[in-house]
């Protein structure tokens, strides 16, 4: 899946083509386009929630149904002006989505999908049983829309001459343009970050839950638009119009066109309409050919047709190569703070048990500003669990974490990250579909403004990522992904980074670079809490070392003290001391 961040220009040609086709007054072509555009609107809605937000919502069509019913009921029974009723319909879909969103968004994956499906089925059931919605029979739409007059121009929105089709195209372009704009903002990038890796996003300060709700609500607004258009097209609505089978078609349309691509819904919708409207062979053959076409496209165009079309367009019209950005390795300046004697991080009595095993057992120590503190211990000693507690990814059973003198034990991970306490992960985590540079841009988003060179380019240079900057993070080797992980934490402008085995998978030369970076960080006033098995590195850079075994602190002190401690030698170092 690609980001769709830079895919607009080649598509202007396709749009021009659509406009030309619109001028063809052939009724059957017109009809195919209209149906295709309605499918495109539905798919665009799912594309926002699923393609960009990463949440497979099965309530999309039902949310559109809410909008359609509210619009029709207000316009016909309550006598509201049509345009006001449309707005009310779309707003209702958004409101309902906020309610469902807060109930479902704690869940993820299949559980989220099933929960949203349950709401959708309940909604269809409700519409089938109420008087006001016309039960299973349905209700009629408010009839033709008025003609728009702008100066000498008139636009018949119902248009036998294509006025309605043109309206659908304009609406689709507005939605897509809006999404294109959103994706270029900080919020849009955060949305993609949450889609790619929610834990990593939280670790660099993105309020993941808020963005999941945002993706759900934006998708619901688009679904609301699609619902109103559907009602107007059919001039009649009934519950099964918004049922499971419609949802399945919307999923097929989006997957065929290309999920996570701005024009995927349009290509998918038009293709689907073309297949269904032109293949009038009749009866079961039609279904069979249709099924075969979908199987072939799913197998041979698994990224969606749009992906391959735009690759072809780029072959014909290659984009000029981007001007390489040159930056000098910059200071790894963290946010203010500076050197003080006060403890930056205070951990006291921290305890966490998993299924009877005390992974972290009454651990207490402090880390000052601009200090490098190592955490070592045998495998399974509880080092990563300790990081999970300190960074806010897991709640402790007992004990307290204080940051800059204030208790933060109850703060979520993204809040701690925003205050300058940022962790990395043992298994390297990245935003895989985004480039290395886009990864860093997201991490640097919360960084305090600092005069001078672009911090992202400085980090790219400092961490030696220049040659990899435009590659998707998914293509990085283990060691490079590990290095990117540290770069992401530093890019946030952290006051303290919690590094979980940053040297694992790095060769000696790269470990040397890491050593230099750690010392550089300390010089810049940033503290480091370091889990690492590379003893040369630990003994060399750490001011102090805490040794854990079976969840408890068994030794603590300077590198010299710790490496001579008999318990440490016995439990951990062996002959490697």
């Amino acid at each position: 899946m690609t980001t769709g961040l830079r895919r607009l220009p080649p598509w202007l040609g396709i749009l021009a083509l659509c406009l030309v086709v619109l001028l063809v007054p052939d009724e059957s072509t017109q009809n195919t386009l209209t149906v295709g555009l309605i499918w495109a609107l539905w798919a665009a809605s799912l594309n926002i929630t699923w393609g960009y937000g990463g949440q497979f919502s099965m309530a999309q069509v039902a949310l559109g149904g809410v909008s359609a019913y509210v619009f029709v009921i207000l316009a016909t029974r309550s006598g509201w002006p049509v345009f006001l009723a449309i707005v009310a319909g779309i707003v209702s879909a958004a409101v309902v989505s906020v309610v469902i969103g807060y109930m479902c968004l704690r869940l993820s994956g299949f559980r989220f999908a099933i929960m949203t499906l349950a709401f959708a089925l309940a909604g269809v059931g409700l519409a089938s049983s109420m008087e006001i919605t016309g039960r299973t029979t349905g209700i009629s739409a408010p009839g033709p829309w008025p003609t728009l007059r702008i100066g000498p121009l008139t636009w018949d929105l119902n248009g036998t001459d294509g006025g309605f089709t043109l309206l659908l195209l304009v609406v689709f372009l507005l939605l897509t343009g809006g999404m294109w704009l959103v994706l270029r903002t900080r919020q849009g990038r955060a949305l993609l970050a949450v889609r790619e890796d929610q834990l990593l996003a939280e670790s660099v300060g993105v309020a993941a839950r808020r963005y999941r709700v945002l993706a759900f609500v934006l998708g619901a607004v688009a679904a609301g638009v699609a619902g109103v258009c559907q009602a107007q097209y059919y001039q009649f609505i009934y519950p099964s119009l918004f049922s499971f089978s419609t949802l399945v078609t919307v999923i097929v349309v989006l997957v065929l066109g290309g999920r996570g691509l701005l024009f995927g819904p349009l290509v998918g919708g038009l293709l689907y309409a073309l297949l269904t409207n032109t293949l009038h062979i009749g009866g079961q053959f039609e279904q069979m050919i249709f099924g075969a076409a979908i199987i072939l496209l799913t197998v041979f165009a698994r990224h969606g047709l749009t992906y391959y079309l735009s690759a072809a367009v780029r072959l014909v019209l290659p984009r000029p190569p981007a001007e390489p950005v040159r930056a000098e390795p910059g200071p790894l300046a963290p946010r203010g703070g500076g050197l003080t004697d006060a403890a930056l991080l205070e951990i006291s009595g921290l305890t966490k048990a998993f299924g009877g095993v005390r992974a972290v057992d009454d651990v207490s120590f402090t880390v000052g500003s601009a200090a490098v503190v190592g955490v070592i211990g045998p495998n399974g000693a509880g080092k990563t669990s300790l990081f999970n507690l300190v960074s806010g990814f897991v709640r402790p059973d007992a004990g307290e974490v204080r940051w800059e003198g204030r208790a933060i034990t109850g703060l979520p991970a993204f809040e701690r990250s925003r205050r300058g306490l940022v962790r990395t992960f043992q298994r390297p985590r990245t935003f895989p579909a985004l480039t290395v540079r886009e990864n860093l841009v997201i991490a640097a988003e919360g960084r305090p403004a600092h005069p001078g060179a672009d911090p992202v380019e400085q980090i790219v240079a400092t961490f030696g990522l220049a040659e990899l900057a435009d590659r998707p993070a998914s293509a990085l080797s283990y060691g490079d992904a590990k290095r990117l992980g540290v770069a992401l934490a530093v890019a946030t402008g952290a006051r303290m980074v919690l590094l979980d085995e940053p040297a694992a998978g790095l060769n000696t030369g790269d470990v040397e670079l890491l050593r230099r970076d750690l010392l550089e960080l300390r010089k810049a006033g940033c503290s480091v809490l370091l889990i690492e098995h590379h003893m040369e590195l630990v003994l060399d850079v750490c001011d102090e070392i805490v040794v854990l075994d079976a969840g408890r602190v068994i030794a603590q002190g300077t590198p010299a003290e710790v490496s001579a401690h008999p318990d440490v030698i016995d439990a951990y170092l062996g002959s490697a001391r």
Binding site: R427, L513, A576
Partner: protein, 237 residues
């Protein structure tokens, strides 16, 4: 005795050639190190041998027979086991079930088998009934290696076995790898810890940019300028 040979192997991934020319050989009676910087293609080479990538040129021969394009499960049946980097275990299965999966290729998990791997990784002993997903990263790495050993392959492909392990365990693993040839198990070892790799290997190859460029005994490689540049010279790959 098993002999695996790669000659001029080339592999393409996502439109780009990632292995340009890989030639090496390893027998069932030696530990051979595959050295190189990050992204040099070492892991890709192991994945190609185990059938996860298909070469578009060159030959992979097992005991003289070309085996290009053999499916991964059949590569295992021919006696080649792969322990990939990054602690790949079946997280939903218990530690014992993971070990049974390793022994499955040649029958049941015997108590002698179990004693052998627990002798190497005592930390796993108290965890046999726990789901592998709750193990720490280092314990998962031990489990992955143990599973590979239990397949009792003729050739073991080990990708970064020391990754994330405590120094004491790294010592033990080094010693264990060194003993494998005597048990009739050859090893192709990818390891960022060059000291460990050259300690246990009798000979090795250096890879750069998807090519094997140097070959030599462990002693020769330890003194080689090219190896020093790749491992100790610093600078990102």
């Amino acid at each position: 005795m098993t002999e695996l040979t790669l000659e001029g192997v080339r592999v393409r991934r996502g439109g780009a050639t990632v292995l340009h020319d890989v030639s090496l050989s390893v027998t069932g009676a030696e530990v051979v190190a595959l050295l190189g910087t990050n992204g040099a293609g070492k892991s890709t080479t192991l994945r190609t041998i185990s059938g996860l990538h298909r070469p578009y040129a060159g030959e992979i021969r097992l005991n003289g027979k070309v085996v290009n394009g053999t499916r991964p499960e059949n590569v295992v049946r021919r006696g080649i086991a792969h322990v990939p980097e990054g602690r790949q275990v079946f997280v939903g299965l218990t530690v014992r079930e993971n070990l049974e999966m390793g022994a499955r290729i040649r029958g049941r998990l015997t108590s002698a088998d179990l004693d052998r791997v627990l002798g190497l990784f005592p930390a796993l002993g108290s965890m046999l009934g726990k789901r592998a997903g709750v193990l720490s990263g280092g314990q998962q790495q031990m489990l992955a290696i143990a599973r590979g050993l239990l397949a009792r392959p003729e050739l073991l492909l080990l990708d970064e076995p020391s990754l994330g392990l405590a120094p004491k365990v790294v010592d033990q693993i080094g010693a264990a790898i060194g003993q494998l040839p005597a048990l009739g198990m050859g090893v192709l070892l990818v390891e960022q810890n060059a000291t460990l790799a050259l300690d246990v290997a009798s000979r090795g190859y250096l890879m750069t940019g998807g090519r094997t460029i140097t070959e030599g005994t462990a002693g020769e490689l330890g003194r080689s300028e090219a190896v020093r540049a790749a491992y100790f010279g610093g600078g990102p790959a």
